[in-house]
Symmetry: C2
Subunit: 337 residues, 2 copies
């Protein structure tokens, strides 16, 4: 593969790739659970945990912490709650860190256990930009309890630059240790990721890590991850076989092969992908036109997810509905020559 | 979508995107036919033609020209041959140009009709680097017959830089009008495309166009196309719903939405994608781990295509077979902290 090595040595920033010791966070069960209400068996989650440990992945985000009363445990799977009696059935001693996500408004401070009473090492709080001050307060509490802290500011593509400045200013003054660029809608092209990673790194403190959490609506999640790594992302999110909400996320196996890091071993992951291929046919993540359309339009994927539950996705009709208020200057005038 | 517009105005080359009046070549039937021996009905090909015309696509590559005796017409569909009596059933007068591909060694000069006797406007010759001189000779003949000429040098990721220099030197001195960067194995990351587009543009004459034909083994075809456009590609290949050999190609609908060009209308394309989704389930293009593994290893996809015909793709076993001769320094040593 002569070209590959030659290009990696090129001094031009545009053409060189910059794989480095990036940390890998797997969120297969947490984000994938958005497709099936977290109804994964303990057995599958245990095998996922084991595979991730063997693969040398740095962090597994196993699910959410959620306060009682927000979801009905009769219809919502255990990984929406991550109670300790469920965790102990799937995790064992390892060097891999274990994370949970908390949604702003779905968790009360008093429902977060002290660090000594759980297998969890890391708390990630998912928040919209407007709620960043409250998220910082919650993460400060988690930090005091002994957790490593991450803040995921969702849907940043809907923010004005001034709104981004504002929340980065708040985060810079906070105890939050890591902040992710989050493409909730799968709307970003690589240049957006480059811009945002640079911006986050410029605004945040040098001791704060910057990551990416990217959705695959337009089949850009992996390439956007590469762009993020090129710009200096410290950690990147991925999921096995790309399982995740809507179109899904960056496939972990693609990322590990790309990173070419001897600390990783992609083979245990490849033992799970056939099984997930069956799940994909059922849960319908991956490339489908309705997801692509909401990604392109920078819209929440919920309408595309609803559409994918129908027999026919009828993407032309779906597109027409979502673009009804956009100008239609698209009179076809083909070019000659 | 404030961020989008802000980023597009950024003066920094790394972050700005550079959508311009790029020409779009659709090869849905030609490349997609590699999955089903070109056994598409005239009715479907006719509807594809109509949709591409309405969408404002510049060129439709409808199939191959192949000399008699190379394939058996009893088992191989009409688009492997593109006989005039098949073409007239699916095309009508339009401003869209019609192309065929010729494989080196599968077409004799005397089997190429004069321009006046066919609906075809463009001949693309697919060749490996070693056969570029013969391809140039064939394309010179096509040019004399009145065709617009394209040369696709396949599998360029397997060439040494010196081999690339050599064939570009031959093409620069030729009558060939357009040359494509071809990622036959889906092995490229965006920085490879950037490097090769720059190189092709530097080496070729200013009046020669440069294009991209990219495969999607690692889900990079669309993002690699964006990288190609950023670096100045004059034309780009795509296929509806990404249908193409193995993992497939850059999805045309993603490309048209991205280009945001008022000459295009994605809606007629979206009327075909549900139908192609059914075909995808049967013909198995799209993201599957065996394709990803051969792409990553910079290998021809044939072993992955064979593997995908089995009930279980067993990617761990497949990976082990293909990497048996690679060094295995992958002792897992997880990081702390």
């Amino acid at each position: 593969m002569g070209l590959d090595y030659r290009v990696r040595c090129c001094p031009d920033g545009l053409m060189t790739d910059r794989r480095h010791n990036v940390k890998v966070l797997d969120c297969t069960i947490r984000d994938g659970g958005c497709n099936n209400d977290w109804l994964f068996s303990h057995e599958l989650v245990g095998r996922t945990f084991d595979a991730l440990v063997k693969a040398g992945v740095d962090v597994m985000e196993v699910g959410y912490w959620t306060s009682p009363g927000v979801y009905d445990p009769a219809t919502t799977g255990p990984w929406r709650f991550c109670r300790e009696d469920d965790l102990v059935r799937v995790v064992r001693a390892s060097d891999m860190k274990l994370a949970v996500m908390c949604d702003m408004g779905r968790i009360r401070k008093e429902d977060i256990p002290p660090k000594g009473e759980t297998a969890i090492d890391i708390v990630r709080v998912a928040t919209y930009a407007k709620d960043v001050p409250e998220a910082v307060d919650l993460l400060q509490h988690c930090r005091e309890l002994g957790y490593e802290t991450f803040c995921n500011v969702m849907a940043v593509t809907t923010c004005t630059p001034q709104e981004v400045d504002a929340f980065l200013g708040v985060l810079r003054e906070s105890a939050v240790q890591h902040i992710a660029v989050v493409d909730s809608f799968g709307a970003m092209y690589p240049h957006h990721v480059r811009y945002l990673i640079r911006k986050y790194k410029n605004w945040l403190r040098p001791d704060q890590g910057v990551g990416v959490h990217l959705h695959n609506n337009q089949e850009t999640a992996f390439a956007n991850t590469i762009a993020g790594i090129d710009e200096g992302a410290d950690f990147v999110d991925a999921t096995i076989f790309g399982m995740g909400r809507g179109a899904g996320n960056c496939p972990l196996e693609l990322l590990l092969m790309y990173l070419d890091d001897p600390r990783h071993d992609v083979r245990p992951i490849l033992e799970l992908t056939d099984e997930l291929a069956d799940l994909r046919a059922e849960l319908k993540w991956g490339y489908h036109v309705p997801y692509a359309v909401t990604g392109w339009l920078n819209l929440h994927p919920r309408s595309a997810i609803d559409r994918m539950r129908l027999d026919r996705s009828a993407p032309r009709e779906f597109y027409d509905t979502l673009t009804a208020n956009r100008p239609r200057a698209r009179h076809h005038e083909p070019r000659k020559g």
